[in-house]
Amino acid sequence: MIDLKDRFTELDRMPAPDLDRLITARARQLAKVPGALGSEDPGARRAGTRPVELLATVAILALAVGVAALMQWRLMSPSRQVRPSPSPTPTSLVQAPSAGTVVFSGSACTYKGPPRIWVDHVSVALSNQTARDAHFDFFRLNQGHSYLEFAAHIREEQQRSQAGQSSLGYPDFATFLFTDVIKPQETQSLYLPTDVATYVIACIPWNDSQPAGIFAAGPVTVSP
């Protein structure tokens, strides 16, 4: 029987950062802004919509209404007859172009997109095409290591899992970044970093209480 209390005590070995300066600076900032602590609800201001964001949203809406009114006015004006009709522009100003998609089908995890992308350029979509939750684990490959090593590690992990053997754990040649859980039949956007590195993904289907396999995808290399 696993003693959870003992396992949690292990967390004490994780070095915690010194946040003195961050706290002092933030407290000063809060003291300077009237109404910054208006809510009695701790964290509500931070977790919810911030006043600045609200103002920005109102400003954007006002601008949109203005532009719409202007467009309407232009369409109604006689100049419409002499000007060529503008072609529709499907691209969104706020959405980064998509580099590709990591698709998990249940039997394979595939990155469909260019293997090399540029800094500040793109987003990647995560698509779970299965009927159960899927975890997408992201890793950054350490220098000098390749996707083939990662794929081999994941393959062995899968074989050990099927054979009921112990897990290999995270590969020591890659840095685990985070897990994102995608619901069945859902797709979510991931904004790739500006860091120059090679990223790889492990797709993990999830049954009610445990992982039900593991599959590798990638690589996505971010170039300067």
């Binding site: 959870l4 915690a16 961050l22 003291a31 985070f178 994102d180 956007s189 970093p193 990223y199």
Partner: protein, 172 residues
């Protein structure tokens, strides 16, 4: 004739200032003694050192700025940290950003536990961390997570079972 009896003592604004100073000292002392533990709990919950640092710094900064409006700083800090971290994770779900700051080396800690915790739903994960690591009582966990004591007990029981199963399967 009305007679008002006044107690001898400090003027009110000085009393308030003294209370605020005492509260500030209490919050600073809380950070010195429990700051690391609070950060580790937030880190185990979010699995992201940046989220943990932001949540802890924001909670302590808000506590300092609120001064004597907070009657029980320790409980308030735990509540604020988990709610801020939870809010940040929710924001991240709709716009996931992969940043250099989100990476870290887990050379000193129990890889399996942190990995397994991320496989639990957020409420079960938070409940287990607050109970086993932060040593908070059930009723306080209910307050921190804006839940009921019964729901906390259910989450604790289910989370415990699920976490053990994950750890046992991984360690076979």
């Amino acid at each position: 004739m009305d007679v008002t009896f006044r107690r001898p003592g400090l003027p009110l604004h000085l009393v308030k200032a003294a209370v605020a100073d005492a509260n500030r000292s209490a919050i600073e002392a809380l950070y010195r003694t429990h700051g690391d533990r609070v950060w580790r709990a937030a880190w185990a919950f979010a699995h992201d050192p940046d989220v943990a640092s932001d949540a802890v710094a924001e909670a302590f900064a808000q506590a300092l700025a609120r001064g004597d409006a907070i009657t029980s700083p320790a409980a308030w800090i735990w509540r604020a940290v988990f709610r801020i971290a939870g809010g940040m994770l929710q924001e991240r779900r709709s716009l996931v950003r992969l940043s250099h700051g989100g990476s870290y080396e887990m050379t000193e800690v129990d890889h399996e536990l942190v990995w397994a915790l991320q496989r639990l739903p957020p409420h079960q994960r938070a409940t287990l961390i607050l109970f086993y690591y932060a040593d908070r009582p059930i009723n306080e966990i209910a307050d921190i997570l804006q839940s009921s004591s019964i729901a906390v007990r259910v989450n604790l029981s289910r989370g415990r079972k699920r976490l053990r199963l994950i750890l046992e399967n991984r360690g076979d």
